[in-house]
Symmetry: C2
Amino acid sequence: MDPTRSILLTDLYQLTMLQAYFAEGMEEPAAFELFARALPRDRGFYVAAGLEQLIELLEQARFTSEELDWLRGTGRFRSDFVDWLADWRFTGDVDALPEGTVCFPDEPLVRVVAPIPEAQLVESRLINIVHFQTLIASKAARSVLAAPGRLLVDFGMRRAHGAEAALYAARASYIAGFAGSSTVLADMRWGIPSFGTMAHSFIEAHARESDAFEQFARAQPGNVVLLVDTYDTEAGAETVAAIAPRLAEAGIRIKAVRLDSGDLAEHARRVRAILDGAGLPSVGIFASGGLDEHDLAELVAHGAPVDGFGVGTRLDTSADAPYLDCAYKIQEYAGLPRRKRSEGKASWPGRKQVYRHRDDTGRFAGDRLTLASDPAEGEPLLVPAMRAGRRVGPAEGLDAIRARCADQLAHLPEGVKRLRDPEPYPVEVSRSLHALATEIDRRPH
Amino acid sequence: MDPTRSILLTDLYQLTMLQAYFAEGMEEPAAFELFARALPRDRGFYVAAGLEQLIELLEQARFTSEELDWLRGTGRFRSDFVDWLADWRFTGDVDALPEGTVCFPDEPLVRVVAPIPEAQLVESRLINIVHFQTLIASKAARSVLAAPGRLLVDFGMRRAHGAEAALYAARASYIAGFAGSSTVLADMRWGIPSFGTMAHSFIEAHARESDAFEQFARAQPGNVVLLVDTYDTEAGAETVAAIAPRLAEAGIRIKAVRLDSGDLAEHARRVRAILDGAGLPSVGIFASGGLDEHDLAELVAHGAPVDGFGVGTRLDTSADAPYLDCAYKIQEYAGLPRRKRSEGKASWPGRKQVYRHRDDTGRFAGDRLTLASDPAEGEPLLVPAMRAGRRVGPAEGLDAIRARCADQLAHLPEGVKRLRDPEPYPVEVSRSLHALATEIDRRPH
C-alpha cells in the first residue's frame, strides 16, 4: 500500500464529521480556503508550492475496497455510510495561486468549492501537501537571494522527515531557484537535475586519500568532485593538485573540490590559492556542512571563493521555522459566508481574491485582499486549477513554475527580501471584507 | 510508483561511489554505525525508533527494471555497472538498539556490517527513517513526562512534513507513550488507536452551535466529543450543558468537550465549573491548539482540570529541534578500523557496543561505550536485528516496544528527564576505544 496515495491518510475527525453530514443529508456546496497567518520571525514572504501534487491527489482520491473493509471492521461507522463512501469522489472546483507565486499572510493559497463532504474530507492531506512545499519553497528562496549566481544544491534528503518530505523538498527548492538536488528519485520523477560527489567513507575505505581521489576520478571521469576535508583540508587540496597532471594525461578534468567542515571561508581561500598555484584555476570550490541562508550570505559577503553550496538539513526541515501557521477554513456554506471567531484565530469570511499592484518600474507595491465577487482590480492572483473535479488545462511544467518564481522574486521590494528583520509588505483588506465580517459577527449562533 | 519503497530514494553520491567500488572490485565487508552527536538544547536523552521500518526496507531493497532503465538512460553510469545493480541485494548484518531504548550521544543506534557496496548504498534512506522516528519518539517522550496520567493524542498529521512523516510521527509518539493519533492510516497499518472529534467548520456549517452539537452526537453516539470554542468557549460549554439532558434521554453520553484556543487553564476551570454545575462531572475536558511539552507541564503544574491533550504541529515537526545531529559513519573496512577526523566531526572508530549500569534501585547510573570485541560488562544494548540480510526472529509488536520505552523512562534519573536544563547522563568511553583512536590517528593517509 502506497501511503502517499491512501485517502485514509487523514484525521479521524474528517470521517466522523462526514458521517454526521451523511446522517443529516448535508451536501450543499462549501467554500474552504487555505491561508497562512503571521509570517515566522525574520521572514518577509511565502512562496506558494505544492498545487500540482494536490491536483493529482484530488483527481485520483477514492476509497479502495481494502480501506472500506477496514472501516467497516472498526465498528465505528454505520454500514450505509461506508457504502456511501465507496462512491465518494472529489467533484469540486479549486482556485489557487500558481506555484512559485510570492504571497503573504491572510492571502488564500487554495480555495476549494465542493459539496461539504468533499471539501471537508480533503482538508488534512491538502494542508499536508501544500503546507510543506510552501514551507520549503519559502525557505529555499532565502538561500537563492543570499547567494546570487552560486550553484545551489539540495543536500537534505537524509534528514528530511521521511520519504515524501525528501522528494517534495527537492521539488520545492528547485522551484525557488536551486539548481537541483542530490535526491535521485526527484530526478527520475520530475527531471530535477541530480548532483552528487563522494562521502568521507569512500576516502576512509581506501588506504590513502590520493588513491581514493584517483580511483573515483577514473570511475566517473565526467563528474569529478573530490571531497578534501576527511583528514586535513589543505593537505587534501595539495593531494588534488598532485594527482591532477596524471588525470589530465588520461583526459580527466577535475571539476571541483568539496569542503565540508571547519571555517569554510578561510579554507576556501587557502584551497583556492593551492589550486591556483598548481595551475588549476578552473577547478571550482563547492561547500557544504550544516549551512543555511545566513551562512551563505556571510560567505558571499566575505568574498569567500566558493562557487556552489550544498544546503541540506536546515533547508529540508526549514530548521528556523519548521512549520507555518496555516489553516484551511470554511468561508461559506450553502451560499452564506461563515467565520470562525475563536480567540486569536478569527479569519476573514467569504470567497476571497487577491490583486497585486505594481509601481511604475513593475515592482510589487502592495496587495489587496477582496471578496471574489468585488469588481476586479487588474489580474487576480488566484486562478482556476480544477473544475468539477478535473484539472483545468495541462499540468504546468516545473521550469515554467521556476521561472515564475524567479520573476516574482525579482519584483519584490528589496526590504521585503531581507534575511533579517524584513520590511512588512502592504496587504490591504477591502472595505467589503470588513463589512462582511462585521455583519457575520452580528448573526446569532 | 510508491516513493517509500524506491531504492532510488537516495543521494546520487551513493551511486557514484558504488560505481567506483564496482570498478575497483572493492567489496570487502565494511562496518558503518549510525549515532547522534550532541543533544539539542534542553534535551537529556534520545529514544531510539524506526528499526522495524529499516528492516522492512533492507529486506525488500532492490532495483526495479524501470529504475535500471532510467539509470541507463541518464548516460551517467557504465552499462556493466547497471547490470550489476540488477542483482544488488542487502545481504549484511544489522545490530541495533531495540526500539524504545533510551540512548545518548555517541552511542550507536544501528550498526551495519556488509560488503561495502551494500553498507554504503543504504546510508541515505537508513538515516532518513531512523533519524525521523528517533527525533519524534524523543520529542514525544517529553510530553509523556510532562503530563503523567493524561491522555495524549498525536494531532499533527496536517503539518507533518508529508505523508510518511505523518505516519511515522503517529508510530513514534505511540512508542513514547501517547495513547494514539488522529491519523487514520496509522490505525489501519499498525493498529495505533485513532482519536477524533469535530472541526470548527462543522460548527460553522450549521446555523446554530447547538444544532451542530446535537446532530454530531446523534450521528456517532459512541464518541461524543464536542468542540466548544468556535464562538465563545464558556457559551459553548453552557450549550453542551443545555443539550445534555435531551441526549441522555436518547441514551447518548457526552464523553468530553474540546478547548482549542485562548487561555486554556482559565477556560478549563470555567468550563469544568459549568459542567459540574450542570451535573456533568463525568464529561471530560480535552485541550489542543499549538501545544508542546512546556505548555502541558504548565497546565498540569497549575492544576488545570484537563484530562487529555491533543499535541500536534510542534510534536510532528519536533519544532524546537527539527533535526538531530546524527551521522552514519564507516568504522571499519576490510578488517581495519577507520576514523573520520574532519574538524569538529571526529568519531570513535571500530565496531562499538554499549553497556548500561544500574544503581541498587535499578535506576540507570551510567553507560559505557566500548569496542564490541571488549569483554562484556553485562547485557549489551545493541542486539542482532538482521543476519545475512534476513530479520532475526519475529518482528517486535508495537505494544512491546511501547512497554520497553515506558520501562526505560521509569528508570532514567529524574534530572536527565527535566524539560529544561537537564542533567547530563554519564557516558564513559572505554580505554580500548581511546587507544584505538590514537593508533589510527598515527596511520599515514
